[in-house]
């Protein structure tokens, strides 16, 4: 069993990592990573716009955004993928590669999920921040741009990373519409071998596990670092309750 696994890795590592496919120049792990990185990078501005629309005082902005978020969250990602798979070529009238269709889907889906995170980040700041910024002469947009969003986004970094992890996991669904990602590459290998499906899918599971596990740990360490920075400069520890005058003045 282990020898089989080693042999498969030895024979097909190029295919699994960057293998060539008729559907695109890249394949396997490279496509998975590029797809999820692009999806997060594009979903990020979308999510900020959506969150601001949901928090806006105009019902004409608030209702469509809320509806979009609820629909996207209530429908399986698979349905969304199939929607885009059939609708995007109808709009553009061209043969759109499945990679781009998957990217569009993921931007909508992760944008909706991230917008809830952004909204929670903005709401958690408290009205006082906005009031203070307005009192200092910022406009609404300026207050958002210079006061609210920087703080909210800084708090959001850990959940951004975990959204990135779940995006990596979601890209596997592109398998349905033949996005040439890692899952697709593994099924190609499986089709070529035919005799060792267990070994092939074991490798697939291990690769995904390693990827997502390490990213989760990055998220955790970033979270700890942010918590430490939030706590402010480290306080000087004293041996007794009496504050020595020298230390106290040095601190000032």
């Amino acid at each position: 069993m282990i020898q089989d696994i080693i042999k498969i890795i030895h024979d097909y590592w190029l295919l699994l990592l960057i293998g060539q496919y008729p559907n695109g120049p890249l394949g396997g792990l490279a496509n998975t990573l590029i797809l999820s990185a692009l999806a997060i990078a594009l979903a990020f501005p979308v999510s900020i716009l959506l969150a601001m629309a949901r928090l806006s005082k105009w019902a004409a902005l608030r209702w469509p955004a809320t509806g979009l978020v609820y629909i996207t969250r209530g429908v399986p990602l698979l349905m969304l993928i199939l929607w885009c798979y059939f609708i995007v070529p109808l709009w553009t009238g061209a043969d759109v590669p499945s990679f781009l269709i998957m990217l569009v889907t993921l931007v909508i889906y992760e944008g909706a999920f991230l917008s809830e995170v952004v909204r929670a980040g903005i709401v958690s700041l408290g009205q006082g921040q906005m009031d203070a910024a307005r009192a200092l002469g910022h406009s609404y947009i300026g207050a958002m741009r210079f006061v609210i969003l920087p703080q909210a986004l800084y708090n959001m970094i850990p959940s951004m990373i975990s959204t990135f992890v779940s995006t990596i996991k979601d890209t596997t669904l592109g398998y349905i519409i033949n996005v040439p990602d890692l899952t697709f590459a593994a099924s190609q290998v499986n089709n070529q071998l035919l005799s060792q499906p267990f070994q092939v899918f074991f490798i697939l599971a291990v690769v995904y596990y390693a990827l997502c596990w390490s990213l989760t740990h990055v998220a955790n360490s970033v979270e700890r670092r942010i918590a430490r920075r939030r706590a402010g400069p480290r306080k000087i520890r004293l041996r007794s309750d009496v504050v020595p005058l020298k230390t106290f003045t040095e601190q000032l």
């Binding site: 629909i71 209530g74 429908v75 399986p76 349905m79 059939f86 979601d170 349905i176 596990w213």
Partner: protein, 235 residues
Amino acid sequence: MSGFDLSAILRNPDYVAMLLRGIEMTFVIYVGSWILAMTLAILLFALRVSPLRIGDPIVKAYVSYHRNVPTLVQLMFWYFGIYTLMPQGVTDWLADHNAEAIFAIIGLGLCQAAYFSEDLRSGLRSVSPGQMEAAKALGHGYISAMRFVIMPQGVRNALPPLINHSVSLFKNSSLAIVVGASELTHAIKEIDNVSFRTFEIYLIGTIIYLFFSLIIMAFGAYISLRSDPVRRARA
């Protein structure tokens, strides 16, 4: 293709029958995997809080695997991988009894059990240890303190994430199409192939999924409202 026309699908008894069968299979998979997941989650949780030293790393490894490997890959691993390693008699029996649905239930249930057990654990952990001490001081034993003091509070705290994950389990049941189970998404794709009314059938499918997710969410909201003594007293 002519214009937008929902009635072309809804008036056709064949298509409606296919949709209904799809919904039925989706619910078989959903309920089956929910029950499997909840049972396993309670076992995993019990193993984790038990004084057995060996339980902790096992549960941690289980949860870690099922959280970090995509659900689709887990399903493929079960259906394409483990299924083929089973002895001949078992495979034959499974093939006679809708193996696709069984493996979808197993895959989704095992995966969701990891999330459910984490929800239960975080809910129970949010009950402060003082509650247990107070219950013991009042004369409860460990079991009865758990039963009457800790569990009611902990399960109530665990309800919101449990509801969220129940909804996402319902949505994940659409993944069963990958292993070939004939659930709702499968029915929709088949009707699309036969009728060529792509837009209409996907609209109908989306509405069905949305409808049931919203129902599960509303049911969850109702249960968490019912189980909140403060709000119940106010109402």
